[in-house]
């Protein structure tokens, strides 16, 4: 077998083989990517803290953000973190039907989060609240907008993994990516764990 062919049809054992670090390359790459994502969101959150601390009269949401809706959305993401780790546990014991169910539940919960966020955005726009309204809303739309894009990316990643489960051959070579999708999804959850109190509770 030529090396080019070996790359074109990688075997799961090759993909999962520990590298010099003892960690599969894909997993190591995902963690390095997440470390860079931590810095990305820290830049945004840091800017928010600097602006808020330096502002003599911080405008705040002025009652235009619903804490119950934010709480429900936070609960959805916490539940989705649990369902994707349960999908990984089901995959580890070879329970494919359960794995598909938990992964589908994760996708539905993540999509519900985005739908609720969409309704929130629509309500703001209908009240003529835009990023240009004041500093608070500029920060709100920037932080939640980038986070929502990450949620969307996570949903697409999970859908991609779900598509692998339809074919045994695809799953045997690419199934390990479920763990990578899970790591990314948990990161998205962690970011929201900090954004929710910052934007909804500390007003």
């Amino acid at each position: 077998m030529s090396s080019a062919h070996a790359i074109a049809t990688p075997h799961a054992a090759t993909l999962l083989a520990p590298s010099a670090t003892g960690i599969p390359n894909g997993k190591l790459g995902m963690w390095v990517f997440l470390a860079s994502e931590v810095m990305f969101f820290t830049g945004l959150i840091g800017a928010y803290i600097v602006l808020r601390m330096g502002h003599p009269a911080w405008p705040g949401s002025e009652g235009h953000l619903s804490v119950p809706i934010g709480t429900v959305n936070t609960l959805l993401l916490i539940c989705s973190s649990t369902t994707i780790v349960l999908a990984l546990a089901a995959a580890a014991r070879g329970a494919m039907a359960a794995m598909r169910g938990w992964l589908l539940a994760t996708i539905i919960l993540g999509s519900s989060f985005l739908v609720i966020k969409g309704f929130e955005y629509a309500a703001k726009f209908s009240h003529h609240i835009l990023p240009s309204t004041n500093l608070f809303w500029a920060c709100y739309f920037t932080l939640t907008g980038f986070h929502a894009l990450h949620v969307l990316g996570g949903i697409l990643f999970n859908l991609w993994i779900l598509a692998y489960t339809a074919q045994a051959a695809s799953w045997s070579t690419r199934g390990h990516r479920l763990e990578l999708a899970g790591l990314y999804w948990h990161f998205v959850d962690i970011v929201w764990i900090f954004l929710f109190p910052m934007l909804y509770l500390f007003n």
Partner: protein
């Protein structure tokens, strides 16, 4: 389901309970003013609760607790930079006061 798998699934549900409970506790503390402390005190407590939740997700759901130490070091690097940045930020704020 083997004993090991069953135990890990049970642990995931326990962590879910803690995450949901701590989140609701943060909402109650900040919205209902049940503690006779300043707003700054409430903010500190809620941020601490968020940090605990993030740590639970990282340690148990992302398996950092049982995984290779190198992965923890990779994610620790940006956290140290964040601590440094926040230290500079808050120390400069204290100087202004």
């Amino acid at each position: 389901m083997t004993g090991g798998h069953a135990a890990s699934v049970r642990l995931y549900w326990i962590i879910w309970g803690w995450l949901a409970g701590l989140m609701l506790l943060g909402v109650v503390l900040s919205e209902l003013n049940v503690l006779p402390i300043s707003t700054r005190g409430i903010v500190t407590i809620v941020v601490a609760l968020s940090t605990i939740k993030a740590a639970l997700v990282a340690l148990y759901y992302m398996h950092l607790k049982a995984d290779r130490r190198l992965l923890a070091l990779i994610i620790l690097a940006p956290l140290l930079l964040i601590a440094l940045a926040l230290g500079v930020l808050f120390s400069s704020a204290l100087v202004r006061l």
